[in-house]
């Protein structure tokens, strides 16, 4: 039996193109343009990234700051279009890239739930159906009609996580979000992720917390300066990352490659 993988990256390159200095105004741009002094620096946040994640797989993505992990998730979510290559994602995606985005502090928790669902492309009917479950999971029932500005940071994150993980989805893109909220909520998040996995959901999990990656993911992928360094069983990849990233000889090893 062959099924197509849920996520398929094929030679994905993401080039951030930045002018060599910031050109804030149209006037300045016109001057630069006329005097032909405008230069761009290209920065490759992802280079030739190829991998697949099967349906039901939880793939950990590790790497140093700036390695391109969040960029990879953004390409998978369709937020950024790759500069070269192709990413195919089969199924409904719930990008949980930064919690609490799109929340309006003036609106109540209830209104924010609907607004956030809308941002994820979910219909009003679906949100109505899921509303009670979202409130229950967030354990914020007593605050749900208060404006969001009266919430603590952790409470906002809890609400956001509840919305993002309660809508129907086949694929979660989790960027460093398992550490939100207090301990009891953290446990419930883990449970929820477990349940999603048992139900056959696919997860790309970005985390700097290597024990978490080893615990949750059978497979892992190590990104370094936009390239895939290793892909395989999580303990091995984490081991390689440890051995490689923290050894002094590493910096030179991949230069010019």
């Amino acid at each position: 039996m062959t099924t197509s993988p849920a996520i398929e990256f094929c030679n994905v390159t993401m080039r951030y193109r930045l002018p060599d200095r910031r050109i804030p105004t149209l006037k300045e741009w016109a001057i630069q343009r006329l005097t032909a002094k405008l230069r761009y620096n290209d920065f490759l946040a992802l280079q030739d990234v190829t991998f697949t994640a099967d349906g039901g797989e939880t793939l950990g993505i590790i790497g140093a700051n700036g390695a391109g992990k969040s960029t990879l998730l953004r390409v998978a979510a369709g937020i950024l279009a790759p500069s070269a290559g192709e990413a195919v994602v089969r199924g409904r995606v719930a990008p949980i890239i930064e919690l609490g985005t799109g929340f309006d502090p003036e609106l109540s928790g209830r209104e924010n739930i609907f607004f956030n669902g809308a941002l994820l492309g979910r219909s009003r009917a679906e949100m109505r159906r899921r509303f009670d479950e979202i409130v229950e999971f967030s354990a914020l029932a007593n605050f749900i009609d208060m404006p969001l500005r009266t919430y603590s940071t952790g409470m906002v994150a809890r609400l956001a996580f509840s919305v993002a993980t309660t809508v129907d989805a086949d694929i979660y893109l989790l960027d460093e979000v398992l550490s939100v909220g207090d301990e009891s909520f953290g446990m419930r998040c883990q449970e929820r992720i477990e349940r999603f996995r048992r139900d056959g959901g696919t997860i790309l999990l970005v985390s700097h917390n290597l024990p978490t990656v080893e615990r949750l993911c059978r497979q892992a992928l190590w990104l370094h300066e936009g390239r895939v360094m290793a892909r395989g069983p999580a303990p091995e990849v984490v081991g390689q990352y440890h051995a490689g990233a923290f050894s002094p000889s590493f910096a030179g090893r991949f230069e010019g490659g």
């Binding site: 050109i23 937020i79 609106l107």
Partner: protein
Amino acid sequence: MRNAAGLRPSVLEEARDVAAFSHLLANLVRRDLTVRYKRSVLGFFWTMLNPLLLMIILSVVFSTVFRFAVKHFEVYFLSAYLGWTFFAQTTTGAMSSLAWNGALMKRVRVPKVIFAFSTVLSGLANLGLSCVPLFAIMFIVGAPLTPALLFLPVSFLILAVFVFGVSLGMSAAAVYFDDVAQMYGVALMGLMYLTPIFYPIEIIPQKYLWLIRLNPLVYLFELARAPIYKGCMPSLHDVVISAACAVVAMVVGTTVFRRLAPGFYRHL
């Protein structure tokens, strides 16, 4: 979902994408309207009162100070001023809406045109609502309310298409450059004086008339002024020119937006 280099969705696919996010669209429009109507002191009544107060002030200023010989000056003025308010508020609103929602577009995949679109829709709702005090004023001053008013929805729809096109182009440009919004504000002020809103077109000297005729708003506003003020259907000539301007604005606006949108990440 296929996300590939150089794969730009067609205009049709983008339209379908907006339709798929109709819940978001409804939310954005509702948020716009509640911010406007719920949170101001007089709320809804203010929207009704605002044109009334403005009319009193302006009719005193213009009909006694400038002495334009225009019958029912209030109605003459408001028939174009409502459209102007819609145009000016929506285009500037679309610019700030796209900029404000920049952080959002980096974290969730939403159709980027949805922000301009929702601004146009809520502007259109405001325009419709402001017709209520307009009709009241017409009734009070004894200006005739004729069946030609039934043409107004068409007038406003053509204007809305034009406004949507301008909003798309300007909002995309404003993401790239900080000074676009300021320059646009100045341009708007100039444009207002170049549009016969509070003065009759007859006061323009013959030799400058061509300049006024280059202004698409003249034709677009005439579509509303004819039924409201003159009590007749707009001329076919004006309808055709207006519709053509609206189509051109849409094509240019969409093209600019689609070209600039992939680079938004650099600026937001």
